[in-house]
Symmetry: C2
Subunit: 390 residues, 2 copies
Amino acid sequence: MPEKNTEQDTARGSSVGVVQPQDIQLADEDNPLILDNGRSFAPINVRYETYGRLNKERSNAVLILHAFSGDAHAAGYHSPEDQKPGWWDPMIGPGRAFDTTKYFIISSNVLGGCQGTTGPASVSPETGKPYGLSFPVITIADMVRLQERLIDALGIDRLLAVAGGSMGGMQALEWAVGYPERVRSAMVLSSTARLNAQGIAFNAVGRNAITTDCRWAGGDYYGEETPSTGLAIARMIGHITYLSDESMRMKFGRRLQQRATYGYDFSDQFEVESYLQHQGDKFVDRFDANSYLYLSKAMDYFDMSESYGGLTNAFSRTGAKFLVISYSSDWLYPTYQSKEMVYAMMKSGLDVTFIELASPYGHDSFLLDAGRQTELISSFLEKAYAESTE
Amino acid sequence: MPEKNTEQDTARGSSVGVVQPQDIQLADEDNPLILDNGRSFAPINVRYETYGRLNKERSNAVLILHAFSGDAHAAGYHSPEDQKPGWWDPMIGPGRAFDTTKYFIISSNVLGGCQGTTGPASVSPETGKPYGLSFPVITIADMVRLQERLIDALGIDRLLAVAGGSMGGMQALEWAVGYPERVRSAMVLSSTARLNAQGIAFNAVGRNAITTDCRWAGGDYYGEETPSTGLAIARMIGHITYLSDESMRMKFGRRLQQRATYGYDFSDQFEVESYLQHQGDKFVDRFDANSYLYLSKAMDYFDMSESYGGLTNAFSRTGAKFLVISYSSDWLYPTYQSKEMVYAMMKSGLDVTFIELASPYGHDSFLLDAGRQTELISSFLEKAYAESTE
């Protein structure tokens, strides 16, 4: 997650305040989840949070879908002392883009994650030990399959909207296309309908860094030292791809961390080096290395064209309205990938609004550019809500 | 180094054939090399190759400067059975861009390298053991300092041209600005006058992968197992940056290596993953991990603006003619960086030709796009040579 930036301060409205995470079991032996790979999997626990209230028509529910390293905690604080709000806090709250005085917002940790929902670090009831690599390989569609059970459990027939950036955008696409009768509208930010070779390449190198860390131990490291150096390197690689040449130049330039002039030794660290190491070190405290493997692999597999016989066929399955946003400096999911999906949506006769926002912040812009996103998303949501009541 | 591509087949002329690498000692206790960090360093051996013949006026010498993972072997073969030519073979030979019937071509391995020139894997005469991290931190200017001694030893007062891509382009810039009386012209391909934060970031992650490999052992791994997994990861990261989104899409797309349909398990490998692993594995056989640290750090330090009090001041020191080439899909050294130096060269009143070539091959284009480079470089060289005889 990026650090606070000034854009966030310009977000209107206020925070949802203190929130309480919820846990729910959504699959058991009698009712396992059938995965894309054919395996029947149970039990599955899901961690989720909600903000705002479901109206009596149950027509104001919006599902927020987190990105690769996100979690269920999208907004607010976990205690009055908590200093760090949820990952999309400037976007969710009274008067914010996802206005909790109007909408019922739901956010859950994905299948395979490590923040409360069942994943490779969870204990297998068969062995009494963490799954590790015996956890099934999952897909974006499997994540959405589990989310559908959450929506069922919350008594919601049809979501007003699904919304997410990056891997969250993939889930939003899968929701709209895979469950057309259950989604009125979808917001897809900084995302793609199929991961490109370059994205697969970066994920593969990150996985390689983890699996070649001798402490990885074939994924069976729980209770022992964790593959923290490999995971930190994977995170550092990822972090470079979330920023942009321009944002790194603005933020760090060629400044050294501790010296004014070059010392010509390896203790000379440029600011950008220290920043990346700090990001890597912070990450290993909160993220499970095996989850990195599973979630990145799920992204690699994501290809709506492959799953649905072409992108146009995919979008022909749904009548959802779409809002697609890309960012000019996002080179991980460049604008041409958004245009590719918008073209297929339009060919399928869908109602789609697309905009490329100029931003220097790279892929992370969807987390940082709260001001402009608020204008776009609040207007899109209001219209979708008005149409749902017609 | 990239694989053979069709552009290479269109290169005109023929190979130089079998060539013999040369070794020469260029610094000893009585005449050490004074480095940027103040240290007096000796002994230093240099591996080099030459192609073509020095004319009697000694006016036709061209120094080729290799990139990060290159070596002295720029052209030809080391034996009649040798299958793999030098790294810029399509560009060097009778009738080629660097026409060996006209010019005397010199190519040497850089200081700090691991292909014949003294570097961290060389044996220290003080300890009788490889230097490892007791090797001094070096700079691009130090590499050029040593190359000047090679030119002295070959009896050349003034080079007709210096030429290089990427890190080789940095050396070409340093030659022209640091030794203006010794360089008539310089060709700078796919390069920059100062490494940007993003470039430093990628180098830093590569170094981190090496130094966190437990076999690295503080750089003292010689004679033991080498940090091959860390070095392979560093190479994989580097390799992604040498390609482009477009070239990876064309070359690999989303194809799996061994299956037609997704198996949803970790044995599923996309072609791009296998390719990167192969590149990483090949690299560790020919490259020393400590050289990776030293050469990448030298690139990080490279900033002509810092060294010479601004880019315009830097270029005001020289009267060399410049040819600057960038590639449209090179996102590691994007065109704006070439434009930055061209702007400063023009402000300094220099004669400079600049072109951005459209190419999908990313940073590696300078190694692959032999056809068009041949047109540009042969014409530029001919003109420089004609002017030198006026």
